[in-house]
């Protein structure tokens, strides 16, 4: 999805990124619970450790955070 600031929990995002250990690595953007978000696609993998065997499913539809 593309970020729309109206859906973003701005204080939550600020504080998440203040975490010195992981804040910069994770680059978190925290959404407001239940916000409507437009999803482009989902990449589905059979294993969480091996990236092969993944397929991309087009979504192009609205979901919820």
């Amino acid at each position: 999805m593309k970020i729309d600031r109206r859906n973003v929990d701005i204080p939550g995002t600020v504080y998440a990124r203040m975490d010195m250990s992981i804040g910069e690595d994770e680059s978190e953007v925290r959404m407001i619970q239940g916000a409507k978000i437009f999803v482009y696609d989902v990449e589905v993998c059979k294993s969480r450790t091996v990236s092969s065997g993944c397929s991309t499913i087009e979504i192009n539809d609205w979901r919820h955070a």
Binding site: R5, T13, G23, I37, R48, R63
Partner: protein, 296 residues
């Protein structure tokens, strides 16, 4: 380090623009030379900040100017750091009374310099002060900052209560730095940092001898300032991202879902997203029988 959107420019190529900028806001002594210039990081950069320095055998002095519409973005702090680096380069050539001094004509700058270890030497007018930093304080500040930074990377993590507190106030805009700092200060992380750092007896004695300051109190003050500087830098980066870069950015998250759930129809995708494709591991990904799905 400069915030996103800015870059250091070659002083030799930008001396006229820097002088013009300085003329708008401050009076730079004729003995001072242009040391550093900050410009916007684009094809036709505009000069928005400058540092002028000079030194005698008694003191290293500097003037800083930042264009009014580019203030509160960390540019002045970056220029002070350049001044401190230059002071450190020449300090060993002088005796121990050699110090930094600066004429300050606005209260924001006075606050910034205090947070970096400067003290008011003389108040000339309501918004006009002369500030100094002793060489020994400078040395201590830098030693502690380096150590603190190493420690901070290991120790500084918001507590669970700290994070859930934010969700409770989640709503409108960017919290002020003061609000963020109050929360960070009261977290266990800062106390852990303070406990983990200690000067040895020789360092304490030497510091007391050179400055007449109580080393214990000073160390605490110093650490709080060093931590605050780290937090403030990060805060400025985050606010810049939210104000200038976030809208319209692609965003991802990785989730683990049970095998019997169709990822194409999975409805609730959660609140923890990242603007980096590989920014996050699968969230709470320890459930058994799940498949990871990276969602964009």
């Amino acid at each position: 380090m400069l915030p996103n959107g800015y870059t250091f420019l070659n002083p030799e190529d930008n001396d006229e623009a820097a002088a013009k900028l300085a003329d708008r806001y401050i009076r730079v002594g004729s003995d001072k030379e242009l040391e550093a210039v900050i410009g916007t990081d684009d094809e036709r950069p505009e000069v928005v900040g400058a540092l002028f320095t000079s030194y005698t055998k008694e003191a290293f002095s500097f003037d800083i100017v930042v264009r009014h519409d580019h203030r509160r973005k960390g540019l002045a702090r970056a220029l002070v750091r350049v001044a401190i680096d230059q002071f450190e380069d020449v300090r060993d050539a002088f005796d121990k009374d050699f110090h930094m001094e600066v004429d300050v004509v606005n209260q924001d700058m006075e606050r910034l310099l205090k947070s970096m270890g400067f003290e008011v030497d003389k108040r000339v007018g309501k918004d006009h002060v002369q500030m100094t930093m002793e060489s020994a304080v400078m040395q201590a500040l830098h030693e502690m900052t380096r150590t603190q930074k190493k420690q901070a990377k290991k120790i500084f993590r918001p507590t669970q209560a700290f994070q859930s507190g934010f969700q409770a106030v989640a709503s409108k805009g960017v919290p002020s730095f003061e609000e963020v700092w109050e929360e960070v200060k009261s977290s266990d992380s800062v106390n852990n940092i303070l406990e983990h750092l200690a000067w040895d007896e020789r360092q304490k004695s030497q510091f007391e001898y050179e400055t007449d300051k109580d080393p214990e109190e000073f160390q605490e003050w110093l650490l709080e300032n060093a931590v605050k500087e780290e937090v403030e830098n990060r805060y400025e980066d985050v606010v810049y991202f939210i104000d200038h870069e976030m809208d319209g950015e692609d965003c991802w998250r990785a989730v683990g879902i049970p095998k019997n759930v169709d990822p194409a129809k999975h409805e609730d995708l959660g609140i923890y997203w990242s603007n980096k494709e590989d920014g996050s591991d699968e969230y709470w990904g320890s459930h058994r029988n799940t498949i990871p799905a990276s969602t964009r």
